[in-house]
Amino acid sequence: MKQVILAAHFPGVNNHTVWSDPASGSQIDFAAFAHLARTAERGKFDFFFLADGQRLREQRGRIHDLDVVGRPDALTVLAALAAVTDHLGLAATINATFNEPYEVARKLATLDHLSGGRAGWNIVTSSDAFTGENFRRGGFLDYSQRYERAEEFLRTARELWDSWAEEDLVADPVAGTFAAEGAGAFAHHGAQFDIGGHFTVPRSPQRYPLTIQAGDSEEGREFAASTADAIFSRHSTLEAGQAFYRDIKSRLAGHGRSPDSLKILPGVTFALGDTDAEAQENADHIRRQQVSPQTAILLLEQLWNRDLSSYDADGPLPAIDPDVSEDSIIKGRARMYRDPLKTAAEWRALAEAKRLGIRDLIIEVTGRQSFIGSPARVAEEINEFVQTDAADGFILVPHLTPAGLDGFVDKVVPLLQERGVFRAEYETNTLRGHLGLENDL
């Protein structure tokens, strides 16, 4: 039987994170991160995951104010979490467009040392000019080049990580030799980066921190198949998950890789209850918290691409059609609908059939929890997804900070352990070790 991989996503800056609940705490205090990471480690999770965004989201030219806003620098928090955890992998999302390989490779190698081999890197490629306004480079990178740069960025980082051989750190006071001759020397001449010199961080415990990829386009999938260790995917239903899984795994042979060398981890949400019925009630309650009247209008605008602020959240859908021009009213977040007119037609049909107002429709068509049920049911479904190749495991996204993972760890994890599909104790000390990817370098 396949073993399930589990990761914990710190609740994000979107409407899935419920801040209006009395149990919702700070999204920025270190205690919140420490609580969630310790909970994940108590549950023997593979890793803790932080997302990233380098410009506050805007809608209709104004900073988005309805969701949680504000988050820390990922690597800085992970370095601190390394001090309060012992085994848990620590993965940061780092953008390849608004960073440079020398600096990122240095930071990741440092984190890998400081955590004893637990660093991971979700390499993302957002390259919009809007975000570029916060950086020296500005919005220079054409969309078509984002994976060219990401691919060369990662290749360069690995050259830097290899620039110190394992035996290059000598530290022999008697011989008077601290480092081997030529330690850290590198030269990379490419289209994106033309750099050379010496790297400052000796070989780290994992050699290469775990590489995760999260893009979904054809280029993104090829990039992942050629070089990533894991994919953070958005294909979280059984059928879509299986199709994505087949697609990705079938690409691996072409790159000379085994199917096991790339782990597929959909991001998923969950709602628990003592009984399935209670879980469903909890799920409905959470959905209403996630979609306030104001958020309902805002999410509708994301499909309609128009100002709908004058509409009533309890009233009917707009009669006017979505604006399908190139110009998006949303900045700082990927466009979510490929065919807005078609989706709008589907939503209208559904609203009519079920007599739903805007808010109820949005609750119905967006972001239903992936797993809803008693702990036994959720454990069973998770295992089924993994055993039937819809996934190798999951990145769980709780809806509450900081306690959103407590119930899962207390109630669902023991059931997975009983089934023998999830570790009862950590068996290795590194993130690659947890995923069985130590020897795949």
Partner: protein, 391 residues
């Protein structure tokens, strides 16, 4: 200035500041690339009630030559990212300030602001920054974005070099300005969690910083809410007029490198001439502390094949003699000292267990931490945000 208001920091770098420190019998050369080593140093410094530690860094291997690598393997080569080391130590300490070095030359001010604001969160208000410029051509070659001809010691006066130094510090001033604006770009009360209106933040309390400079433009606001200290501490090392001006304009603390009390007085006067009365002025000192200080230094000099040379004055002597020197120099108008231990952890231990008790006996150094934040240790208030109320 109250009698007990002397400030003390230590500068941590590799195995210590002597180039052969790692070969001292008391050194821990095999541990330099472990978290435990750095945790041990910083907890020791906190045990001594020091104001803060700085952590050295640079985006190139250490070298005895300004122009580039020296190929030497008999000295410590290699280092961690200092900001991450500081963050790794933060949860293991509770009072001491953590001041990593980060260059302004090759980094993105936006990332620097986020990293330091986050360090301030994970440490509960103990973050600082030693802002540094990178004048080496080798560092520029690691980024491949611009050519820096590189500084040469023998030609620090030629017009090209003077222009380069001016340019690097002008850019550093811009970077600090951007970072400080970003720290203020969220008002303290921006998070409102107002359920009736569905709003998490009051977006009118978030501000674009709209910085436009010759090297970069930054829009803002920060992705990180305003850090606990409001403004984490900004510090800079300065040896000459251009960096003195930079420090007076941009920093909260400047480290200077006088070689005697007379020079200290002259530099303090020059720095104060830029009109920043609240800037704290620290003198840097390399220290070998203990009864055997001179012999230890001689042994290390022999191992290295050269007399220890430094930009800062080098002290060898007992804790009592060091206390004498500190109190003497202090009268030149210094607020504190940043001590560079020659060998770690030995000279750090001699500071915390020898010098500090001596200064306490003389009534010039705290006997317990009185504040919880780094600004607090230095008696600096938490500043109001520059945009507060500008809506």
């Amino acid at each position: 200035m109250s009698a007990a208001s002397l400030h003390l920091a230590v500068a941590l770098d590799g195995a210590g500041w002597h180039p052969a420190a790692w070969r001292d019998p008391a050194a821990l050369p095999k541990d330099l690339f472990t978290a435990a080593y750095w945790a041990g140093l910083v907890t020791e410094a906190e045990h001594g009630l020091l104001d803060f530690v700085t952590i050295e860094d640079s985006l190139a291997l250490q070298s005895t030559r300004l122009e580039g690598p020296d190929g030497r393997v008999d000295q410590v080569r290699g280092r961690f990212d200092a900001a991450l080391v500081a963050s790794r130590i933060a949860p293991l300490t509770s009072r001491i300030g953590l001041v990593p070095t980060i260059t302004t030359t090759h980094t993105e001010p936006f990332h620097v602001a986020s990293a330091l604001a986050t360090l301030d969160y994970v440490s509960g208000g103990r973050a600082g920054w030693r802002a540094q410029v990178s004048g080496r051509s080798t560092e520029a070659a690691h980024f491949g974005r611009r050519d820096i001809p590189g500084l040469r010691l023998e030609s620090l006066d030629d017009p090209e070099t003077v222009r380069l130094i001016r340019e690097l510090f002008d850019e550093a001033a811009d970077a600090v300005e951007v970072v400080r604006r970003l720290w203020d770009s969220w008002e303290d009360d921006a998070v409102i969690r107002d359920v009736p209106t569905g709003r998490f933040i009051d977006r009118d309390r978030l501000h674009y910083i709209d910085f436009e400079g010759s090297r970069f433009s930054v829009k803002g606001p920060s992705i990180v809410p305003r850090p606990p200290q409001g403004q984490p501490l900004v510090t800079a090392l300065a040896h000459a007029r251009v960096p003195y001006e930079f420090a007076a304009r941009s920093a909260d603390v400047v480290y200077i490198t006088p070689h005697d009390a007379e020079q200290a007085r002259a530099i303090v006067e020059e720095v104060r001439g830029f009109g920043n009365d609240v800037l704290k002025i620290f003198a840097d000192l390399v220290v070998y502390v203990g009864e055997d200080a001179r012999e230890r230094k001689a042994r290390l000099d022999e191992l290295d094949g050269a007399d220890h040379a430094s930009d800062a004055a080098i002290f060898t002597g007992t804790p009592g003699e060091l206390a004498d020197l500190i109190l003497d120099w202090r009268r030149a108008g210094l607020d504190g000292f940043r001590l560079r231990p020659a060998v770690l952890p030995a000279d750090l231990g001699a500071i915390t267990r020898g010098l500090v008790p001596e200064l306490q006996r003389r009534g010039v150094f705290r006997t317990a931490y009185e504040a919880a934040t780094l600004r607090g240790h230095l008696g600096l208030p938490r500043p109001a945000g520059r945009y507060a109320g500008s809506r």
